[in-house]
Amino acid sequence: MKRALCRRPGQFWDKDQRPKTKDQIVMKLLREILFPLIAVVAAFIVGGIVVLIIGDSPIQTYRLLIGSAFSWPDGIGYTLFYATPLIFTGLAVAVAFRCGLLNIGAEGQLYIGAFATAWVGIKLAGTSAWILLPLCCAVAIAAGAIWGGIPGLLKARFGSHEVINTIMLNFIAVALVSYFTQYHYKAPGDPILQTTTIGTTAHIARLGKFIPGLPERIPLNLAFIFAIIACAFVYILLWKTKWGYEIRATGANPSAAEYGGISIRKQIILAMAISGGLAGMVGINEVLGYRYRYYDGFSANYGFVGIAVALLGRNHPVGVFLAALLFAILLRGGIFVDAYTVHVSKDIVDMLQGIVIVFVAAEAAFRGPIKKFGLMRRAKV
């Protein structure tokens, strides 16, 4: 649209109208990028003070926390691997949010997706990779979509709140997959709560296979590429298709959407199913690319961290990608902070995440003072 605006200068818009538009674009970008950035910086400052009080050097702690993510190949490899599930869950929460829904159930959806893909991988072991691989991926997405679609359906049909239902379905999902793992799909005598392995034809390649210098022991796999594709998919879906228009219109103003001939019920079910499908894709990374089996309780709260990722990423795929990277850096760095500092533990990661979220949520509170300092006005020029 911006291009179309510039193509016809002076024809339709007055000359003095156009720079105003540019200002507005700059302002919008600023708001989208600057405020989350400020939240992150502010969180690090507060975190630094806490570290200081505990008795360690903030600079050294942060060097460990962030620096350790950038070493090659381990740092970068693991960071991207950690980022992969967070991108999926962040996107999942973002899509639901754009439809005005809060999906707290990504955690349950990803467990269901992971178990389902493992189940197919076990049952159909030996089938040609050309069939089994796409099938396993599709099953992960479909299972997550169904699990996400249920609360969508309940909301559309009975008006019951999706927050309650997704939370409840989390408990059910966790119990269900534990039960099946324990009593039906565990290798006999295995003390660990995990299933037997999936067929080798269901494995997806680790990126080390394609990238020189990246050893294959690092579990970063093709699912990371899928995550990038998923970002593009979500962007195109939401902003470039009629379906995305309907989802966003429903989220922005359900009454007006209804007036525009959009079935709100359909949008709610659709958005929750897409959201669940994205969460289910975590199973591709975990099962098909990393452990090659379902390992019970594998998720380090990816579903819940996804809410934070979406929030910090302003429910935009690009933002979600960047926020997931940041949280992955912290996850990775936390291990080193634990090992190499005297007093600070890796809990600082949780604390930083928490503070970031508080600051993002409190955006409005510090938007005022910034305006006062004239930062906005200068940025506008």
């Binding site: 105003k20 538009t21 298709t241 228009y245 309907e246 922005a252 007036y259 079935s263």
Partner: protein, 504 residues
């Protein structure tokens, strides 16, 4: 009582108030009129301490005063009632009124004395407000009186009312004006901000007209008239009367037979209504708000679930009772909803995105593959709506929220007229819209009729329906109580029917 001298206020690049000066005499009702964005609310918010002016001074009783916060203003006897009420719904009237000025000590709240005082004030001005009622149990009109009491309780001598009648029904407006007159008799001074000419003429002693942040006229109300005020407000001659040739009604387009609608709470909203609208005519529906007009229009537009209604709706002879909103739009039924913020617009979406609401799934909004949005098609459509309907500022990338009410309305009307419709359902087309835009919208509706479109018009402004309609149906308690010829019927006659009295 209060005098503004050279008040100047900038918001960024916008000069909201440019050397605004006027004086409000004690014991008078002083109207400030101007179109949306003329700076009238800004000036009064400065007087109330909501904003501080960049330049200029405020004199109260002849003395220059510094008003930095509403607190200062209240201490000086200035009170303000906002367009949107600031009341806590589940709390009682008395609790709301004392809020911020609670009597008693920190640990004990003595409401009894406050309630007595409120009752005394209520009696004095005949407000009929029970201090012990909860806010949520009150009508909008009563809530407004609570806001008045809030100011009176704080011993306000000067009351600033921002668009006080916007939320009231015609009957409530009459009552409200009676209260204002009583307050004037008791020596209070009242400043009323409005953009409705008829109200200015009905209630005020003096009037200050503002345009583009400046005072363009300071008049005594008895010495002026609507045409002069309109000209000052808009800056050019304005046609206050709608000029239209006689209707050339054609074939029946819309038919409603025995239509009944039940509300969400189970009460009957529309009760066995039958009528038809023919091509090339405007049928007006007059009635006090809340008598079923909202539900009737929504049902015709396909926005009321079938389980809540009975009867039959036909369009060009075809039964469309079971068609949803989208299908009806495809047949050529356009709908300008009464509440543009709730129904009509996606406020956070751009103007361009708003111009495709309802047609977003087909050409020209969608490219030939049927899935991807066609951004150039959308852009062209947006440009067309913006140009044909004079939406300002003419920038399709702005969010709809940033437009004034009049321009938002023009955007909606433009979108719906672009459909193009065979039947137009229009509800409150000019509510909260300034005069210049009202004239424009009325002309467009008449032009649509002359192009052969059937128009069904609902408006709370009796003047508007009588001026526009070729036939007028009067609705009362969900029933059509009669049909009149708007050229012949007097407003008293219609008014009587609107309140349930049968025509003699």
């Amino acid at each position: 009582m209060i005098e503004l001298r050279n008040i100047t206020k900038r918001f960024g690049d916008v000069l909201a108030n440019d050397r605004v000066s006027f004086t409000v005499g004690p014991g008078t009702i002083h109207a400030i009129i101007g179109e949306n964005g003329a700076g009238k609310s800004t000036a009064m918010r400065i007087a109330y301490g909501f904003y501080t002016s960049d330049d200029g001074e405020i004199l109260i009783d002849g003395q220059a005063r510094e008003i930095r916060t509403p607190h200062d203003a209240i201490a000086l006897g200035v009170g303000m009632v906002h367009q949107h009420f600031m009341l806590v719904e589940p709390m009682t009237v008395a609790e709301n009124i004392v809020l911020g000025a609670e009597p008693g000590s920190a640990i004990s709240l003595d409401l009894r004395e406050a309630a007595d005082e409120i009752r005394k004030l209520s009696d004095e001005f005949k407000l009929f407000v029970d201090p012990n009622a909860t806010i949520e149990s009150l009508s909008v009109g009563q809530q407004q009186r609570v806001e008045l009491l809030k100011a009176l309780y704080r011993h306000a001598q000067l009351l600033i009312l921002d668009e006080p009648t916007a939320v009231l029904t015609p009957q409530e407006v009459e009552e409200f004006f009676a209260i204002l007159r009583r307050m004037r008799e008791q020596g209070k001074t009242i400043v009323i901000i409005t953009h409705k000419l008829s109200e200015v003429l009905a209630i005020s002693d003096n009037v200050t007209v503002m345009r583009d942040g400046r005072v363009v006229g300071d008049l005594k109300t008895p010495a002026t008239n609507a045409a002069e005020l309109a000209r000052l407000m808009v800056g050019r001659e304005v046609l206050l009367r709608v000029e239209k040739p006689d209707a050339k009604a054609g074939a029946a387009i819309l038919g409603a037979r025995d239509l009944s609608i039940v509300g969400r709470d189970g009460s009957k909203r529309v009760d066995g209504v039958s009528f038809e609208v023919r091509a090339g005519e405007i049928v007006g529906i007059a009635g006090v708000e809340g008598n079923g007009q909202t539900e009737l229009i929504e049902a015709l537009a396909g926005l009321i679930p079938g389980s809540h209604m009975s009867g039959e709706i036909t369009f060009q002879g075809r039964d469309i009772t079971r068609l949803d909103a989208r299908k009806r739009k495809e047949l050529g039924i356009a709908h300008v909803p009464e509440d543009r913020h709730r129904r009509g617009l996606l406020l956070d979406f751009s103007l361009a995105e708003n111009t495709i609401l309802g047609v977003h799934y087909r050409k020209p909004a969608v490219s030939s593959n049927g899935v991807l949005l066609d951004e150039r098609g959308i852009q062209r459509r947006a440009e067309q709506v913006i140009r044909d309907f004079d939406v300002r500022p003419p920038n399709p990338m702005l969010p709809a929220r940033s437009l004034s009410g009049g321009n938002q309305q023009k955007l909606i009307i433009g979108r719906e007229f672009e459909l193009p419709p065979k039947l137009l359902l229009v509800s409150q087309p000019t509510r909260g819209v300034d005069i210049g835009a009202i004239e424009f919208i009325h002309r467009k509706i008449v032009a649509m009729r002359d192009g052969g479109c059937a128009v069904l018009l609902v408006s709370a402004e009796l003047e508007e329906v009588t001026a526009l309609a070729d036939r007028l149906l009067v609705i009362h308690k969900g029933q059509i109580v009669g049909e009149v010829d708007p050229k012949v019927a007097t407003s008293e006659e219609i008014g009587l029917m609107m309140t349930g009295g049968k025509r003699s």
